[in-house]
């Protein structure tokens, strides 16, 4: 009997591990984080939009840097269609000084970010989403005031060279939502820079 009990505990523990982070179809929680203009931004501020493109990204990661111009272009194109970008830096600046709040401000200005660039200073948001690396995209659809995860993964299939992209995963996913369809694929993979939790 005790063995059974232990087995059940172990089973639940393993379920808890595998259930970390959002899956497609989950409702995304609200968050409130500080933007580079020192104002607070919440997901709920976007209640009038059709959806939100949440992108975990940062300054130090070459993969993130390679995507900066593409993220700006996506925001410009899809903001008008009701899907603005919200970027979140999940990194601990003691691990990566380049990812400090001051450096976020500098980088956003240099690159002319057209979207909020929020700082997950307490590292409370990215684990809830289940983001593991930068860049890591969560495309949310506004379903009567609830934000539902519709697509998770990469921006496109060539991080190294924007000119050689043959599958624009994220743009296709947003287009699908606008057309009233489900994104296909709804999950893609890419290499990125691991997000490191703060050392205790």
């Amino acid at each position: 009997m005790k063995k059974n009990y232990l087995f059940i505990v172990a089973l639940f523990a393993s379920l808890a591990v595998s259930a970390q982070g959002y899956k497609v179809g989950d409702e995304a929680m609200n968050f409130t984080l500080k933007n580079i203009d020192d104002k607070m931004v919440s997901l709920s501020d976007y209640a009038i939009e059709k959806g939100v493109v949440v992108i975990f990204t940062c300054n130090h990661c070459p993969y993130s840097v390679a995507y900066e111009d593409r993220i700006v272009a996506l925001d410009k194109k899809y903001k008008k269609k009701g899907f603005p970008v919200v970027a979140i830096n999940p990194n601990d600046p003691t691990e990566y000084p380049e990812d400090s709040f001051d450096n976020m401000k500098i980088r956003a200005k240099e690159k002319g970010f057209t979207f909020p660039y929020l700082f997950d200073e307490k590292q409370e948001v990215y684990p809830v989403y289940g983001a593991t690396k930068t860049p890591h995209v969560y495309l949310l659809k506004n379903n009567k005031g609830k934000f539902v995860v519709e697509y998770i993964g990469a921006i496109d299939n060539n991080s190294k060279d924007a000119d050689k992209v043959s599958e624009a995963y994220l743009a296709n996913a947003i287009d699908a939502l606008i057309a009233g369809n489900k994104p296909n694929p709804e999950l893609t993979k890419a290499v990125g820079c691991s997000i490191k939790p703060r050392k205790q």
Binding site: Y96, T132, T188, K189, V191
Partner: protein, 169 residues
């Protein structure tokens, strides 16, 4: 006369090529190891050679801090198991355009002895071929023997890696 002029031109060109070739080889010898840029099929070939060899395959990149931190322990294990049925492959996920500017200087500076290759393939395809459960964050280490892969999605220190290698050899 015209013939002679052509001959001289050809000869000069040949000399130029020879000098260039010589410089090329000298630069090869000065540099530490060369790093081939390969796709996933080619990478698989590297660990499919011998069925009784244990391959330790580590995915890393110069920009990946936890990767860089664990690599010295990998060099140490590599030195220790030299001569055994053991081979270490360090798979860099740096951009191919950073090979000259970041990867080769890193190898030179740290005197990296295990074989280094740079993987350039479609992430959304090859990551699943390594392990469908893996989302692409690194470091990742595989222990491969007889084409059977054991996946480690966390950093490994000297003791952990050594214990793993010993259990598989």
């Amino acid at each position: 006369m015209r013939c002679r002029a052509v001959y001289v031109a050809v000869k000069q060109n040949t000399m130029r090529y020879l000098v260039l070739l010589l410089l090329f080889f000298i630069s090869f010898n000065i540099k530490s190891q060369q790093v081939p840029v390969i796709n996933y099929d080619e990478l698989e070939q590297l660990w499919s050679g011998s069925s009784d060899t244990l391959y330790v395959v580590n995915f890393w990149a110069t920009w990946c801090k936890p990767c860089i931190e664990e690599l010295p322990d990998f060099y140490k294990v590599n030195d220790e198991f030299k001569g055994k049925a053991f081979k270490m492959i360090l798979v860099s996920l740096d951009f191919p355009s950073h090979l000259e500017s970041r990867v080769l200087p890193f190898i030179e500076k740290n005197k990296v002895k295990p074989k280094v290759v740079l993987l350039n393939d479609d992430d959304n395809v090859w990551i699943n071929r390594v392990n469908p459960q893996w989302d692409g964050s690194i470091p990742v280490t595989l222990l491969i023997k007889n084409k059977k892969k054991q996946f480690h999605g966390t950093t490994l220190n000297y003791k952990e890696l050594k214990t793993l290698v010993e259990s598989k050899l």
